[in-house]
């Protein structure tokens, strides 16, 4: 059955370089002397739940999911927690984050694994299991899967489940190898995802430069419960973008501010499906992932790596060539240069790319934008990159937003085709970061204004109450004076003077009492 394919606009065809690492099977990477597990591996941070010096087992939860967009973090092997401290994170900023440093004991002793019967548990319980197993999108964004599996409030059903096996970025082959070698496990993960989403059909999109993976997945698709179709898609970067793949497979273009589920489509990566299967049917949390190590190395390949393994150890296994001058995490299009080679592998790490001047020449100096419009033709999001460039460059952030800068997926197609070699994505990232900061500041200012107004109102109310109390006290004193005067009747004037004096004293006593009351209230 030939599926009808749609086509997103734009895209580029960079050299694939996939043969380098696609040939060899996935090899396990040896246990490093020290594992550094960052507590921030998804959109939200996890809170540590172990202490320094404590012994942990393989798969033991060391960080709890905190907040709606976090997932749990686990010990990748059994060993002793040596430190919980700030270490450099694999992040373009080169900044530090809280990490749990574990010294492995080499025994690889597991915690008691607790597989579940998927059909026996409610969807809510399964999502909790996935959160506590630390399952996040392993395609690179590391968005917690349990959030994506939450169905809409109105009980709407997600008609189509799209499985992303496109892997469009050059050099990376980890999903390719995974599909070739573990197609059955992936298929079972897909079945769980389809069950959770109540999907009516499953579309597995794989770029047509991976015939072995397509064949392997086709074999498993035949036995699936839900209507499953493996769809070879044309090799075109960035087919693996979520919106792009959904567009190609279903023809649905997801507009700005909407998500797949609004249109009955949800998308997961093949590696995520594999992790879901492992988490639920084996009871093993996400403690390792397949990472492509390639680029300027003698032995490129794919390794099953424990999370927290320093990139240095991993790269050493592939024997980097001496002229390697920097290390990229992720592919050449969307990856970033690592601040140092001691940073650990995290859930989002799909590729470690050794770069050299020969493979990735230094960026030539920029030339002026000539408004040729090639970037606009290449943009898969139908933006106008040259306009965004001018607005970002002149710090005109209002205009950037008017031209939908937040639709930009930072795929780098525009910069790839730019004849003036302008690093366009850098400008967009700068503008986005500035806009986000302004939004944060505005939100903080609004909160401060509300608190200031509430405080002002409270002070005014207190002042009014105080004035009321004083007025009441004065009235009581006057009344007392009047009573005294009445009791004295038409008495002598000297008596009247005495009564007034007495009333004044009484009023003063009353005032003091009121003051004491106030002090007590405080």
């Amino acid at each position: 059955m030939k599926a009808q394919l749609f086509r997103f606009r734009g895209g580029i065809e960079p050299e694939a370089h996939k043969d380098a690492s696609a040939g060899a099977p996935i090899a396990p990477s040896p246990l490093p002397p020290l594992l550094v597990v960052p507590l921030r591996q998804a959109a939200g941070t996890s809170a540590p739940r172990v202490r320094v010096g404590e012994h942990v087992l393989k798969g033991e939860r060391i960080g709890n999911a905190e907040g709606p967009f976090a997932a749990a973090v686990h010990a990748p092997t059994s060993g002793t927690v040596r430190a919980i401290e700030m270490r450099t994170l694999p992040h373009p900023s080169g900044m530090g984050g809280l990490c749990v440093v574990i010294e492995p004991d080499g025994e690889e002793r597991w915690i008691e694994r607790d597989p579940v019967e998927v059909r026996a548990l409610s969807a809510e319980r399964l999502r909790e299991r996935l959160r506590d197993a630390g399952v996040v999108g392993l395609g690179g964004a590391a968005f917690p899967s349990h959030v994506k599996l939450r169905r809409g409030g109105a009980g709407e059903c997600c008609g189509t489940l799209v499985i992303n096996g496109a892997e469009c970025e050059p050099w990376i082959t980890c999903d390719d190898r995974l599909m070739r070698e573990r197609a059955n496990e992936i298929a079972r993960g897909i079945a769980i995802l389809a069950h959770l989403l109540q999907a009516r059909r499953v579309l597995i999109g794989i770029e047509d430069n991976k015939p072995e993976a397509i064949a392997a997945m086709c074999d498993t698709a035949a036995g699936a419960e839900v209507l499953t179709r493996v769809v070879p898609v044309p090799t075109l970067y960035p087919t693996g973008g979520e919106k792009q793949l959904i567009d190609i497979l279903t023809g649905i273009e997801i507009p700005y501010g909407k998500l797949g589920p609004d249109f009955g489509v949800q998308c997961f990566n093949v590696a995520t499906a594999h992790a879901v299967w492992r988490a639920l049917e084996l009871g093993e949390p996400v403690i390792s992932r397949v990472v492509t190590v390639t680029g300027n190395v003698e032995r490129p390949g794919n390794l099953e790596v424990l999370l927290g393994t320093p990139v240095r150890e991993l790269l050493a296994l592939a024997a980097p060539r001496p002229d390697t001058d920097r290390i990229l995490m992720g592919g050449p299009m969307m990856g970033f240069a690592l601040p140092e080679d001691s940073v650990p592998v995290v859930k989002a790490t799909n590729c470690i790319l050794a770069a050299s001047e020969r493979l990735f020449p230094a960026h030539p100096p920029e030339m002026p934008c000539v408004r040729c419009g090639r970037c606009a033709a290449a943009c898969p999001e139908r933006l106008q990159p040259f306009d965004l460039y001018w607005f970002a460059r002149s710090r005109n952030f209002g205009k950037c937003q008017e031209y939908s800068i937040f639709d930009c997926i930072e795929c780098g197609c525009c910069a790839y085709v730019c004849p003036s070699q302008i690093r366009l994505v850098d400008y967009y990232r700068y503008a986005k970061a500035e806009i986000r900061e302004r939004e944060r500041n505005t939100a903080a200012a609004d909160a401060a204004r509300r608190r200031f107004e509430l405080r002002t109102a409270r002070l005014e109310r207190d002042a009014a109450l105080k004035a009321e109390r004083l007025a009441a006290a004065a009235a009581r004193a006057r009344e007392a004076a009047a009573r005294l005067a009445a009791a004295a009747g038409a008495s002598a004037p000297e008596q009247e003077v005495g009564a007034v004096k007495k009333a004044l004293v009484e009023a003063a006593v009353e005032r003091v009492r009121a003051a004491q009351e106030r002090a007590q209230e405080r």
Partner: protein, 183 residues
């Protein structure tokens, strides 16, 4: 001629009545200009402008009593935005009222705090918690960095610290690349 005059007068009367009715019917209660100015101010509530808070300063600007360059936390960008909104000339910040600083938060040295509640009374946004003779502390996420709590403290245990940068708040820098020289 007479018909034309009558028609024109009639039209004028009808339209005038309609406008008069609309001005009553759709009367704007508050001055929206004050709201707009207030929205541009940083809401630090520090009083460095000489007014007791951002809202009173916004009122003063709207009334034409105050200049637009009195707000140090808003800085040059704030002045530019106010100038754009009001159609006035942007001026440099009035140094008499202070200088622009990076955002700060107040931090109480909790060992030195004697629990006098003076800082709590001074805080314009209720960002300090504590009670008489109990330790006080600043809720960092609510602190606007106005420094109003610093002078009242009898034991000088409040210090202003710049906001620490983290992975969450880190920003990509402005790309710096030289243009290639024309041959």
């Amino acid at each position: 001629m007479l018909t034309a005059l009558l028609v024109m007068c009639g039209v004028a009367l009808v339209l005038g009545a309609a406008l008069g009715y609309a001005s009553l019917r759709f009367k704007v209660e508050a001055d929206p200009l004050v709201e707009k100015i207030d929205a541009l101010l940083p809401q630090t509530q520090c009083g460095q402008c000489g007014y007791p808070g951002c809202r009173p300063y916004a009122q003063a600007i709207a009334d034409g009593e105050a200049a637009i360059n009195l707000c140090p936390p808003g800085g040059e960008e704030g002045i530019r935005k106010l100038a754009d909104l009001l159609g006035r000339e942007a001026q440099p910040l009035d140094a008499e009222h202070g200088v622009e600083k990076p955002r700060q938060v107040a931090v109480i040295d909790e060992n030195a705090c004697i629990g006098c509640v003076l800082c709590i009374q001074a805080c314009p946004v209720d960002a300090i918690v504590g009670a008489t003779r109990q330790m006080h502390t600043v809720i960092a996420s609510l602190c606007t960095g106005c420094e109003l709590c610093v002078p009242p403290c009898p034991v000088d245990c409040i210090s202003m610290r710049p906001l620490p940068e983290s992975v969450e708040t880190w920003k990509w820098a402005y790309p710096r690349t030289g243009l290639r020289r024309a041959a």
